[in-house]
Amino acid sequence: MSHDPAKQAWQASVEIAGTPQLEEVQKDADKFFRAIRRRNMIEYVACAVVIVAFTIHLFTLTNIFHRIGSVLVIMAALYAPWQLHRRASAVRPEAAQAMPTHLHLRCQLVRQRDALNGILWWYVLPFFPGLVLFFLGQGYDQEINAAGPPIWMRWLIFAGMFAVVGFIVWLNKMGAQKLQKRIDDIDALTGGSE
């Protein structure tokens, strides 16, 4: 130990510490996989709910805009989880097999980053045509027109939809940036890059 009193005092402040169980540590290291799996499961369930809801609309609403809109939304709710599975499914760490853990993790981080960066195109926009048509359908439906909110409020809701979409895309971009930081950390340690 050093003779410097500051160093001595600092090192004496904690001289003995326990270490966590190896199984616990490995479980923590798999946190990324488990977070992705949970997120995807939520998305799959959400899409299933959308499919059920718009299938009911398809058979109960008579307005042609509503019906075409429902079909388009159902198609989007089938397309989006397929893309989610294709681009950003959770890959078990064991799937790395002989591949070094860091390379496997880096591949997964890059994959998730790219998926988040492109989310507007493969997850958000596919729902748009159906939802816009569904929204327009309300304007042409005399019953809904009579009972529904005034026109300015509908436009406000429409604008709100865009704002929510913008916010979702922004959140995902932030997520992609965080993943990029983790990729950079791995590259800094290994001296590698894309």
Binding site: A9, Q11, S13, I16, A29, D185
Partner: protein, 175 residues
């Protein structure tokens, strides 16, 4: 020994050897005991992962410090928004806090508390250097861990030494 069990063995040996250092480092990056426990776990998980790629790029001691500080700094940056006090550089700190308080003027425990209070005020790069200096790493090792240039490390160590010697200079003046 296959890759996975070699990784486990390396991790276990390193985590036992550096457990106290990891705990001290976590104290330097997180004041809240609950969050600190999470940070320690996060460091251990990162350390285990890292031993899959460790091939003697640097000494094991430097490697463990490097991984632990990476996690610590990331944790610190993500908690920045919670901070009320702005972080400062070493050059803006003139003395260790609580120097005039008689209860704080003696004993290792109180000195470590004062060091910790100073560490918590520091911006990331200076905090890293101070923690590594207190862990008795050489200037070259500090450069290796932080990625700072030799001159940047030297300037910071010079300031640190002056800061840490200040209480003794003040004592001499009073005598």
């Amino acid at each position: 020994m296959n890759g996975k069990s070699a990784q486990d063995a390396r991790y276990l040996a390193a985590s036992r050897a550096h457990a106290a250092m990891i705990e001290r480092l976590a104290r330097g990056y997180e004041a809240d005991p609950e969050l600190r426990r999470d940070l320690v776990q996060e460091i251990h998980a990162a350390l285990w992962r890292s031993f899959a790629i460790y091939e003697g790029q640097c000494s094991e001691k430097s490697w463990v410090h490097r991984i632990a500080h990476n996690v610590g700094v990331t944790h610190m940056m993500s908690g920045m928004r919670r901070r009320k006090m702005p972080l400062v550089g070493l050059e803006q700190i003139e003395e260790l806090p609580g120097g005039d308080d008689p209860e704080h003027s003696t004993g290792q425990r109180s000195l470590s508390d004062r060091l910790l209070a100073t560490i918590h005020r520091l911006a990331p790069a200076d905090r890293q250097v101070m923690l590594l200096y207190l862990e008795d790493l050489t200037a070259a090792e500090i450069g290796e861990v932080t990625g700072l240039s030799a001159s940047a490390v030297a300037v910071r160590i010079h300031r640190l030494k002056a800061l840490l010697a200040e209480p003794y200079r003040a004592q001499e003046k009073r005598a």
